[in-house]
């Protein structure tokens, strides 16, 4: 995934998958589709899919990440979420 962690994504805030987005499991992870901007996005690891699906039950993205991967991986997943945020896949709660 080309990760551009430039945005205003705040991993200490609570997030969820945007209501405009459908997520479909695939062997490599999942496909996400944004019904309004019509973008198709690939989530290329099952861990990332689990984190994204779990976002809404944690009070921050950090917590959601920690629940699924160990700390050495943490930063990678912050970047991955940040790139999903840039594609308008995530919305704040």
């Amino acid at each position: 995934m080309s990760v551009s962690a430039t945005s205003a994504f705040d991993a200490s805030a609570p997030w969820q998958l945007s209501e405009q987005v459908s997520l479909r499991d695939e062997a490599f992870g999942a496909l996400a589709y944004h019904h309004v901007n019509r973008r198709l996005v690939f989530l290329k690891s099952p861990e990332l899919v689990a984190i994204v699906r779990g976002l809404s039950s944690f009070s921050s993205a950090h917590e959601a990440i920690d629940a699924h991967v160990d700390s050495s991986q943490h930063q990678r997943y912050v970047s991955a979420l940040s790139s999903l945020f840039n594609s308008e896949l995530l919305s704040g709660r």
Binding site: S22, R24, E26, A27, F28, R38, L40, F42, K44
Partner: protein
């Protein structure tokens, strides 16, 4: 969608459900375009009923197919057209539909504008009536323009203007771009394949090698122009065009025809590429179990393209284009940018070209004079 090589490998093995599912609602059409990919004209008496069509939409929603491409024939001819598209978008299955525009009057435009998750593609084949009508029939260009006017007046938003690249239309690229920007529309250019009635006109209408080269440059400079990934055979000329750059037939693409037959792609309506029928065990069963799709998902062999340095970019081109020009699937694309397709065509001149299996073209009525 960038061309990510690892992702492309995944796609070659197929997905849980198609990304690009085309569903042709009817073979009926009020026009008779000479290059029609589905040889449409007459309605087939066995076309899916409203309740069968709705059940299929329910299955599509359950498979989490994000959107469907609806075509025909002319889909708006079906009396349940609005009922069906509303049934789809209500379940968050987006609809993109292709139309000749003849049925979009002011009222239809307002109704369409009120529906979310809806995309419309209006087809023309030239930037002026003379060029377009030569393929689509007299009066069709003006009707398409009236449909565009109605959509604009109804504030539909950004619709698409869709053009098949022929030897004539390819000379009007800048005019199409201007027309799209006049309406605030998106331009979509697709490849002419020798499918359906296109079999008969492909030879005289497909772009020359020089035209294809110009098109490639023009597209490279305009990533905002949509192409449905249809020109990936031109990626052999240099930098890849935007898209997956692979033949998606049976992997990410497929077609459901008006009678429920499932084909590997909209451009291969022929028994050899028929995977099953949704009336038998449902669409999901065909998508996941069909032996044809399983074999299409196996890694292809480069065949005659093995020694070509551009194989990775072009993957030997389009299966449909090869099949209906009488080439082997292991041959180069008939429009191979290096001319290898022309050589292959020359060598296979004697073979009989396959003709598309179902033909719903309107019958020509012979008028016998009494004298």
């Amino acid at each position: 969608m960038g061309a990510d090589p690892t992702l492309r490998d995944r796609f070659e093995h197929g997905l849980a459900a198609p990304i690009c599912l085309t569903w042709e609602l009817t073979y009926a059409c009020n026009l008779a375009c000479s290059h029609c990919l589905s040889s449409s004209g007459r309605r087939d008496p066995l076309e899916l009923s409203t309740s069968e069509a709705k059940a299929l939409i329910d299955e599509i929603a359950a498979m989490q197919i994000f959107y469907i491409n609806i075509g025909g024939g002319e889909p708006m001819i079906r009396r349940d057209f609005f009922e069906l598209i509303e049934h789809a978008v209500n379940q968050k299955v987006g609809v993109k539909f292709s139309t000749n525009g003849t049925r979009i009057d002011a009222e239809a435009a307002r109704r369409l504008a009120a529906i979310d998750y809806l995309d419309i593609q209006i087809s023309i084949d030239g930037a002026d009536a003379e060029t377009s009508d030569r393929i689509r029939g007299v009066g069709s260009y003006d009707q398409a323009r009236r449909a565009m006017d109605h959509l604009r007046d109804a504030n539909f938003g950004e619709f698409k203007i869709s053009v098949v690249m022929t030897r004539d239309s390819i000379e009007q690229l800048d005019e199409f771009e201007a027309l799209a920007s006049y309406y605030g529309a998106q331009l979509r250019l697709t490849r002419l394949r020798p499918s359906g009635r296109g079999v008969d006109v492909w030879e005289s209408l497909h772009p020359t090698r020089e035209q294809n080269r110009r098109l490639y440059q023009w597209l490279l400079e305009r990533p905002q122009v949509l192409t449905g990934d249809s020109f990936f055979h031109l990626s052999a000329l240099g930098d890849p065009l935007d898209g997956l750059n692979l033949c998606g037939a049976g992997r990410v693409v497929c077609l459901i025809d008006p009678v429920g037959e499932v084909y590997a792609c909209p451009f291969v309506i022929h028994d050899e590429f028929r995977a099953g029928n949704v009336r038998e065990a449902g669409f999901a069963h065909v998508w996941t179990q069909s032996p044809l799709f399983t074999s299409l998902r196996e890694p292809g062999s480069p065949g005659a393209c093995a020694s070509c340095g551009s194989y990775d970019a072009c993957r030997g081109g389009c299966m449909a284009a090869k099949f209906f020009t009488g080439l082997e699937l292991s041959d180069p694309d008939p429009e191979c940018v290096f001319g290898h397709g022309e050589t292959a065509l020359e060598a296979r001149r004697v073979t009989l070209r396959p003709t598309p299996s179902p033909d719903h073209s309107k019958r020509v009525t012979l008028r016998l004079s009494a004298r």
